[in-house]
């Protein structure tokens, strides 16, 4: 009886998991399917899931109209650059907050996170003016800086959570063996926290890849990443859904592949300490 109940609940959970996954994945699937339709089919009042004339013309047009690989390289440089630079700053910050706590550490952490709650448009003009004066508009380095600053609170928080899981005794032992701060961080802490650091890096690459406010405002022709590439296919007058879908698929496929191969690492990293 108990086995029967277990099987039944297993089946229900499996079905529920598939349903939720299907609901989450359906918009992506629909975008992929739409990218193979003609424009009139894409906006048809009675849309068809598979039974239509599949075409690659949207991909051909998107590739001929836009410099996809320039946008792709900009996305790679900006997202990787911002994530690596962010790690360089976040690791020592999280280390000090986790292992050299003061009475203000908690408040500082909360304040850092609170900056994420500010609507970005609130600081648009000051940042734009700073970028203009420093010649950073439409440059990759400018975007790397702004993406780093945007994602830094999340990086510090994530790393802080991982570092807190590491017993202080290990670091104390290293100190007793004569390790300095540099050795303590690079030779003791980082190897132990590597899964957490990897998942922080991956998550921030994804966040920076998908960011579509600053990347659209601060770039023009030179540093525009794939978000700008997608935005160029929306139109107020004329049919565009199929081409927009093709552009979206081309923009998300690289990050989907990265997510697919690193999903174990990501899940492991994200759930680290979650059941504490």
């Amino acid at each position: 009886m108990a086995i029967k109940d277990t099987n039944k609940s297993k089946l229900i959970y499996t079905l529920a998991a598939w349903t939720v996954s299907g609901m989450i994945f359906f918009p992506i699937l629909w975008t992929i399917i739409t990218s193979f339709k003609t424009e009139s089919e894409a906006i048809s009042a009675s849309p068809r899931l598979f039974m239509f004339d599949w075409t690659l013309e949207n991909y051909a047009e998107v590739l001929s109209r836009s410099p996809y690989f320039d946008h792709f390289m900009n996305s790679v440089v900006i997202s990787l650059g911002a994530s690596l630079l962010g790690l360089l700053i976040a690791i020592p910050a999280a280390w000090s907050m986790a292992f050299v706590q003061t009475k203000r550490t908690k408040n500082l952490l909360k304040w850092m996170l609170s900056t994420k709650m500010l609507p970005p448009v609130g600081v648009l003009i000051p940042i734009y003016l700073l970028f203009r004066d420093f010649g950073l508009l439409d440059t990759r380095i400018g975007l790397v800086i702004v993406m780093t600053l945007i994602n830094l609170p999340i990086m510090v928080w994530m790393l802080y959570t991982y570092f807190r899981e590491i017993p202080n005794e290990i670091l104390e032992a290293a100190r007793m063996d004569g390790a300095g701060i540099k050795q303590e961080i690079f030779q003791v802490l980082l190897p132990i926290a590597l899964p957490g650091i990897a998942s922080t890096l991956l998550l921030n690459v994804i966040l920076a890849w998908n960011e579509a406010f600053w990347t659209l405002i601060l770039t023009a022709a030179n540093a525009a990443p794939l978000t700008a590439f997608i935005a160029s296919y929306s139109s107020p007058e004329g049919l565009f859904y199929a081409k927009l879908s093709a552009a979206s698929v081309m923009a998300v496929v690289p990050i989907l592949i990265l997510g697919w191969f690193s999903q174990k690492q990501l899940v492991r990293g994200l759930s680290f300490g979650a059941v504490k």
């Binding site: 424009e39 009139s40 906006i43 048809s44 009042a45 109209r65 836009s66 648009l124 003009i125 734009y128 003016l129 203009r132 508009l137 439409d138 659209l216 405002i217 023009a220 022709a221 030179n222 525009a224 700008a228 935005a231 160029s232 296919y233 929306s234 139109s235 107020p236 007058e237 004329g238 049919l239 565009f240």
Partner: protein, 435 residues
């Protein structure tokens, strides 16, 4: 020695700079005519080997946000901007745009349609050159009209439109008599309803900038709109903008569609439209008050005052808005694809008139539009489907949301108008009107 070295370096830099072509960055929208311009721009680069073009193509709202930020902060990211007739008078007055006084001797500025040129000038100085212009008109299914036993006049009234919508509606067959914009937004339902309200004698503000949504004319406008859409419009109309209605019309779901004249090319395009050979055109309706419900819009090319490459930018604008460009498009893509609504000479061209069956209606609609006297009574503002003040984007969208709510039935017409009156009064007080 050091002096010599500096001289050599300086000379090398100068020679290098002279050898390099000047690059201008053009921000534009993703509309068919702009895509054609981009694809033909290699011809310009051939004619001007000293100028390289870089393109930034974006969706209208994103583009508006970006170029507004850039021009207001003198960011200097763009040398040529695609902006609309709403922005030009405001930005021209602010000194954010460079006057277009060097378009060349052969540009023939007097050939520009007077209504369009007037909307792009401040104190008789031209601040933007029109790339394409549009008004609005009635597009209708000739077969359904015939089946209903009616004949569309060249200049219909709103009461005829209602009668025709009733006669053409066959909900069982999925055919709706009329399709109109319902999606909330200053460039969406408000464009239609403001133009429509002009023909009912309504206005946004009186001469003292007092909002007028408590007037009978506005009530008549909104009641007509909600009633006709409720009875003869498609389901879910509050989500429909230009593209959604275009898709409905092209697939034979609409008997009539009142929208931008630029749609004429889409609905008669046999590749995409199932009803391409069954479409007729008429002027936007009126109510016998002397004003029709048509709007006036142009996408234009302008140079922000922050650009340091004014000469090159001016050359590009001159090329892209010239008669020569129209001929180039006609040569490469056919006359039907020439950007409409900017030059008188285009409407004197038999080849164009033959290729574009909606050409004459477009011209008549544009010529009948008067942005400085948009409605029956006098107004303190310029603009037909918008009010050319910086606050309009915000209040237009907010009022659009009230009207959209009236369309869905979440609000009555009276509630929507009262709410609009309150929120516009508040916004105008805050902005300290009258100025």
């Amino acid at each position: 020695m050091l002096k010599k070295l500096s001289l050599i370096i300086a000379s090398a830099l100068t020679i290098n700079a002279a050898a390099q072509a000047e690059t201008i960055t053009i921000a534009t929208v993703n509309n068919g005519d702009m895509i054609t311009m981009k694809s033909l721009s290699s011809e310009f680069e051939k004619q001007h080997p000293d100028i390289d073009l870089k393109w930034v193509t974006l969706e209208e709202n994103i583009l508006r946000q970006r170029v507004t930020t850039d021009v207001a902060t003198s960011g200097g990211q763009y040398d040529v901007m695609t902006i609309g007739t709403y922005e030009v008078p405001i930005w021209g007055k602010q000194g954010w745009l460079t006057e277009l006084n060097g378009l060349g001797d052969d540009y023939d500025i007097d050939d520009l349609l007077p209504a369009i040129r007037s909307g792009l000038s401040v104190n008789d100085k031209l601040y933007a050159a029109p790339f394409y212009g549009e008004s609005s008109m009635v597009m209708y299914r000739t077969d359904l009209m015939e089946k209903a036993g009616l004949e569309m006049p060249k200049a219909p009234t709103w009461s005829f439109i209602k009668k025709a919508a009733a006669a053409m509606t066959d909900k069982d067959a999925g055919v709706y008599g009329i399709c109109l914009r319902g999606k909330a937004g200053w460039g969406e339902n408000i464009a239609l309803l403001t133009s429509m309200s002009n023909s009912f004698g309504a206005r946004w503000f009186d001469e003292n900038w007092k909002p007028q949504f408590d007037s009978k004319a506005w009530k008549d406008t909104l009641e007509y709109y909600v009633d006709v859409m409720d009875k003869y419009g498609p389901p879910g109309a509050s989500a429909n903008g230009f593209n959604e209605n275009l898709a409905l019309f092209q697939t034979g779901k609409c008997g009539m569609w009142i929208d931008a004249t630029v749609a004429g090319g889409f609905v008669t395009n046999e590749k995409d439209s199932e009803v391409a050979d069954k479409v007729g055109f008429a002027l936007a309706p009126d109510n016998g008050l002397g004003k029709r419900g048509n709007w006036l819009w142009a996408w234009t090319l302008a140079i922000p005052s922050s650009s340091k490459k004014t000469d090159a930018a001016m050359k590009f604008i001159s090329w892209a808005t010239s008669k020569g460009y129209s001929n180039l498009v006609a040569d490469k893509k056919g006359w039907a694809n020439v950007p409409p609504g900017t030059r008188t000479s285009l409407y004197e061209n038999d080849a164009y008139l033959e290729a574009a069956p909606f050409a004459q209606i477009t011209l008549d609609s544009i010529n009948s539009a008067d942005p400085k006297n948009p409605t029956v009574e006098p107004v303190p503002y310029v603009g037909i489907q918008f009010v050319a003040i910086p606050e309009f984007q915000g209040i237009g969208t907010a009022v659009g949301q009230q009207f959209s709510a009236a369309l869905t039935g979440r609000m009555t017409v009276d509630q929507a108008l009262q709410s609009s009156q309150r929120l516009v009064e508040r916004a105008m007080r805050k902005a300290r009107y009258p100025k």
